[in-house]
């Protein structure tokens, strides 16, 4: 705990450059493309949230974790779902505690009111009393309010915003643009240190323009083979270079097929781990056949891919024209 003080001082220095972001994320095992690094750098520079869109499993949520790990900030996560509302996302009054306290303070209440000469005086005293119960003491902060109250700043991840209702978006607008929330009884609570906000979306529905306007819009697609090889290298321990190259080449071939769910980076990593566990040193026809269900999540997709396995394996085994990636 002694070290945290020193760290909080260190981490508030602004990020120096895009390269610094890249290497910082890499230290967390997150290999970022330059576009991702630019987005993170810019969000820091002009204090804007990042809205990350892209297919499932390309590392949208991972990005937030990597930033939190790198900048040594606490990560607060708000998972969105249909029906998520203010009480679960922002704040809630602790009703039970309020009730309990009134019960306990019943005698005290009599004492306080007993001193009042007139009804008006009693009412005045009661008004003062009421304010006690609607104070910060009795506010239960939910993720959004928690994020604003972190003294050292934090990474706020609003995950799968497209799953929430359209009304919920409007709730976010104040936080995203000004980093503050208004609670009618307490006034406006502004962030001590603006949190780094990452929103992720799978484009299940179109987000409102107002929300998009307040964010940097980052689209993460499937990485190119070079980047993907680097990702596999950093994530999977003990994978040989040959297997890595073949595996990535194979997956890139699979992505050209018309599938229900394209294998994304997380599937690549899972598959690489499986292959390492099976102690495969090279991509073979049989191994691929046996483990294809790690890569493809639908029976129909597996069936669609099976006839191509032989040719894809052969293609992947062929040495790269440009030489294997370093």
């Amino acid at each position: 705990m002694q070290t945290t003080g020193a760290e909080t001082v260190a981490e508030h220095r602004p990020v120096a450059s895009i390269e610094a972001v890249e290497s910082g994320l890499a230290s967390q095992g997150y290999i970022a493309s330059r576009q991702i690094a630019t987005a993170v750098y810019l969000s820091e520079q002009i204090a804007k949230p990042i809205l990350v869109e892209g297919p499932a499993g390309v590392g949208k949520t991972e990005l937030a974790k990597a930033i939190a790990g790198w900048r040594k900030l606490k990560m607060i996560r708000l998972q969105c779902y249909e029906g998520l509302d203010e009480a679960k996302a922002l704040y809630e009054w602790k009703y039970a505690k309020q009730l309990l306290y009134t019960q306990i303070l019943k005698d005290k209440l009599g004492e306080v009111l007993g001193g009042a000469a007139t009804l008006h005086a009693a009412l005045d005293q009661l008004h003062d009393f009421g304010d006690v119960f609607f104070s910060k003491e009795f506010v239960e902060p939910r993720p959004l309010l928690q994020a604003l109250e972190q003294p050292g700043g934090c990474v706020l991840l609003i995950d799968e915003i497209d799953k929430s209702d359209a009304e919920f978006e409007s709730l976010l607008l104040e936080i995203l643009s000004d980093f503050q929330v208004s609670i009618p009884e307490l006034g406006t609570i502004a962030a001590t240190v603006p949190p780094t906000v990452i929103l992720t979306s799978n484009s299940e529905r179109n987000l409102g323009d107002a929300l998009k306007r307040r964010c940097l819009h980052l689209h993460i697609g499937f990485p190119d083979s070079r980047l993907e090889e680097r990702i596999v290298e950093s994530r999977v321990v003990g994978i040989s270079q040959v297997l890595r190259r073949q595996l990535v080449a194979f997956i890139h071939e699979v992505r050209t097929l018309d599938l229900k769910k394209q294998p994304s980076v997380s599937e690549t990593i899972d598959w690489a781990r499986v292959l390492v566990l099976l102690q495969a040193s090279e991509l073979g026809h049989d191994v691929v056949r046996d483990t294809l269900n790690v890569l493809l999540k639908y029976e129909s997709d597996v069936e669609a891919a099976l006839p191509h396995v032989t040719s894809f394996v052969a293609k992947a085994a062929r040495p790269n024209v440009f030489g294997s990636a370093p």
Partner: protein
């Protein structure tokens, strides 16, 4: 650079990316913090701040590449990027260059051309374009005017005078100069064409779409069909955006006693949890009967394309095509691409002479039960039944079962009831009869139908 960025924003709007003032401020701030040294990073920064969807990113990326690839002056071998900073610098240079030029008495433009200073020429073009407000170019017909204006700004007048003088005194130099002048004209033309591509796109697109929207669907030319399909898809997207928003659930209202009691059965029906009555809103159910004979076929084509791209808005569509007889075509439309599906439908029932009576009878016999009190029945046709039995009584029975019957007629109102048109007779049993000949009318018709379910 600010000026350049502003021009870029305008070009971005032309490319169909919505750049609001707030976004342009963000982009400015982003560019200020990343700097301009790396083109790739500048591109990323602009893409991140301005484009808000994948399509916009693609459009903006293309726009960026176009914007920052200035046309090179003729005979230029090295691709030297120019920007406004250079342009401002060379304004002064042009004046000073006059002094040390060997060919005394020639205008600055002639000297610039003869010295073959490509960067200076490009810069001069850029400044002249700015002075001629080239970024206001909207239509391709304006190309000549703008080229002229730019050349004028650069001093073509003086250059022509010089040329005339030189032909008398120094023919070889004159020849060279006239060659160079031709090159300059070409370069300017290229610059103007590029500017048109950048800034004029939106206007041109809008104009074309406006014309297309109001063109009669039955008479559009074959080459426009693809454009029309794109337009229909755009309309579908707009309708989807407008009507597919999740409807707000009603939280308060009357107590639903039955559900409350059931929910609280565990507590001996002491109502701890309350349940409220909700107004249930249906999604539209549509049964579409489309005449695919003769002139109506094309309208039906676009209509079916539109109605089948509204999945998010419409819960259930069943479409039927008829001319002499009637068949269900929902599956064909769902499983095939627009062109193939239409070809398939046409080969089955298309291009006969239409027989409304028989077709309605087919429908009543086989599919009448698909019409429920929640269904809107849309009939698309010109109601010309070739003097055969119109089968209006069947339409009456359909109308009694359905929520609404809407008749869309591609013919103008003037023609209704003349010749073999049975429109007035059918109209009695329809809730709405409207003309539907253009894409715009089609959009309004569908929009109204969907809106009645709100």
């Amino acid at each position: 650079m600010r000026e350049n960025l502003h021009r870029f924003f305008r070009a971005a709007r032309g490319a169909g990316v919505h750049v609001s003032p707030a976004e342009s401020i963000d982009a400015m701030r982003a560019v200020a913090s990343t700097g301009l040294s790396d083109r790739g990073i500048l591109r990323d920064a602009l893409l991140l701040t301005l484009a808000k969807s994948e399509e916009e990113k693609k459009a903006l990326g293309a726009c960026f590449d176009l914007f920052f690839s200035m046309p090179e002056p003729q005979r230029g071998s090295d691709a030297e990027g120019t920007n406004a900073d250079a342009a401002e610098a060379t304004q002064g240079e042009g004046a000073s260059g006059e002094a040390d030029a060997s060919d005394a008495g020639l205008g600055p433009l002639a000297q610039m051309l003869l010295s073959q200073d490509r960067a200076a020429i490009a810069a001069a073009i850029a400044t002249a374009s700015g002075a001629a407000s080239l970024s206001d170019i909207r239509y391709f017909t304006q190309r000549g005017i703008f080229s002229g204006r730019i050349l004028e700004q650069m001093g073509i007048q003086r250059l022509n005078d010089d040329l005339e003088d030189l032909t008398a005194t120094n023919p070889s130099l004159a020849e060279r100069l006239s060659e160079l002048t031709e090159g300059l004209r070409e370069t300017v033309r290229d610059a103007v064409s590029q500017a048109l591509l950048l800034y004029g796109r939106e206007e041109a697109e809008n104009l074309r779409n406006e014309i297309l929207r109001n063109a009669p669907l039955s008479r559009i030319e074959p080459r426009q069909i693809e454009q029309m399909r794109a337009l229909i898809r755009q309309i579908a997207r707009r309708l989807r955006d407008r009507y597919s928003k999740p409807r707000k659930r009603q939280r308060r209202g009357h107590l639903d006693v039955r559900r409350t009691l059931r929910r609280n059965a565990a507590w001996g029906s002491v109502p701890f949890l309350t349940a409220w009555k909700r107004r249930h809103r249906d999604r539209p159910k549509i049964v579409a009967l489309c005449d695919v004979s003769g002139s109506v076929a094309r309208v039906s084509d676009f209509f079916l394309l539109l109605i089948h791209s509204l999945h998010e808005v419409v819960s259930d569509v069943r479409s039927f095509a008829f001319s002499g007889q009637l068949i269900e075509v929902s599956e064909i439309l769902e499983s095939k691409s627009a062109e193939e599906a239409m070809r398939d439908i046409m080969s089955r029932v298309g291009f006969g002479s239409s027989d409304y009576g028989n077709s309605f009878a087919d429908f009543e016999r086989q599919w009448m039960e698909s019409v429920t009190p929640k269904t809107t029945v849309i009939v698309l046709g010109d109601a010309r039944s070739n003097n055969l039995d119109p089968g209006a009584d069947i339409l009456r029975r359909i109308s009694e079962r359905a929520k609404r019957v809407v008749w869309l007629n591609p013919e103008g109102r003037m023609g209704w009831g003349f010749g073999d048109s049975e429109m007035p007779r059918y109209a009695t049993f329809c809730n709405v009869v409207r003309q539907c000949a253009t894409a715009q009318q089609l959009e309004r018709a569908i929009s109204d139908i969907v809106a009645t379910y709100r």
